[in-house]
């Protein structure tokens, strides 16, 4: 379903968890990684992934800023925010910035499968 997937997270462990969950669901996808929001924006422009998983609390550039920049560059970007910060206000800000969905960390294959099904069905 998705050929290229970008994971943006400053935590090596969080990227490892995301890789495992995504590859369980989407076995043939090529996975790319970025270590902060700025790196994520750069990699997005270079790779043009089908889906991007984005953390929020990151150094250099935070996830909300990165979502805004990516959406400005590509209004059709599919960005899934994976975050530990699940305050309602944060979720509102993320969705207003243009994310497709917010997932609560730690990710699980079931959560990834559900959000991919939602993308397939065209709803956030």
């Amino acid at each position: 379903m998705f050929g290229k997937i970008l994971i943006v997270d400053d935590s090596r462990v969080a990227r490892m968890i995301a890789r495992k969950c995504i590859s369980t669901v989407e076995k043939d996808a090529l996975l790319y990684e970025a270590e902060d929001g700025l790196d994520g924006v750069g990699k997005y422009k270079e790779i043009r992934p089908d889906v991007t998983f984005m953390d929020l609390t990151m150094p250099v550039m935070d996830g909300i800023e990165a979502v805004k920049e990516i959406v400005q560059f590509d209004p059709r970007a599919l960005i899934i925010v994976a975050t530990a910060d699940v305050q309602q206000k944060t979720i509102s800000q993320v969705m207003e910035a243009g994310a497709f969905a917010v997932l609560r960390k730690p990710l699980s294959p079931e959560m990834v499968l559900k959000v991919f099904q939602d993308i397939g069905a065209g709803r956030g």
């Binding site: 400053d10 935590s11 090596r12 462990v13 969080a14 490892m16 968890i17 495992k20 969950c21 609390t57 990151m58 150094p59 975050t83 530990a84 910060d85 699940v86 305050q87 309602q88 206000k89 944060t90 960390k105 730690p106």
Partner: protein
């Protein structure tokens, strides 16, 4: 002073613990936001291992710029065990009390206000420490109990740690995050300090956590 490898955490173990702390404090902030109408801006948590004798100077450095602070401290006891510290600048308790009280500090006498400030800090501590430590324990498949919290108002930062709290000549793991109450312009510091007697269990628990994603 040399420490044995089993007393220390590796770089991988630090990374795993940092992500677990990130998850746990994020949950704790959401719990707090549900109880009071406040938005908590989070920073990237940081984990490091220190000689316990360095803890007072470490705290003084981390809290530089604050001559005195208000501290909520609470011990937690399980396989995951240590001391939680929630530190605010002096006066933050009053600000936060007014938030809990619908913006009104309203005519409370100074003795009552001092009491209310303590109660407010204790309640914030209960929510943030309980939710954060509880989530870490859950992720590491442990159960913790808590000592009664203590609030020290107008304390010097370096006095936050009781000198004989941890066995001397050992290491401690310090998990730290700084957060900001938006619209109130209040910064808080949150520390979880684990003594090395839980390191053996902690190392195994961290790898067990990651095995789910291997």
């Amino acid at each position: 002073m040399e420490f044995h490898a089993e007393q220390n955490l590796t770089s991988d173990e630090h990374d795993i613990l940092q992500e677990i702390m990130n998850i746990a404090f994020g949950r704790a902030s959401a719990d707090l936001a549900e109880v009071i109408d406040i938005y908590v801006e989070l920073n990237v948590p940081y984990v490091q291992t220190l000689d316990v004798r360095e803890l007072p100077s470490y705290l003084a450095t981390e809290l530089a710029g604050h001559e005195s602070v208000s501290i909520v401290e609470q011990g937690y006891l399980g396989k995951f065990r240590g001391l939680a510290l929630l530190v605010f600048p002096v006066g933050a308790g009053r600000e936060l009390f007014s938030l809990l009280n619908g913006g009104d500090q309203g005519g409370a006498e100074s003795t009552n206000m001092a009491l209310m400030e303590r109660e407010t800090l204790m309640e914030l501590g209960n929510i943030l420490i309980g939710a954060c430590v509880g989530k870490i324990a859950e992720l590491l498949d442990d159960v913790v109990t808590y000592a009664p919290p203590r609030v020290n108002v107008e304390e010097r930062p370096e006095n936050a740690i009781v000198a004989d709290l941890f066995e001397q000549n050992t290491l401690a793991t310090v998990m730290r995050t700084v957060f900001h109450f938006k619209d109130r312009d209040i910064d808080g510091h949150f520390f979880l300090i684990n003594s090395s007697d839980s390191f053996g269990w902690l190392k195994k628990a961290l790898y067990t956590f990651m095995e789910r994603y291997a």
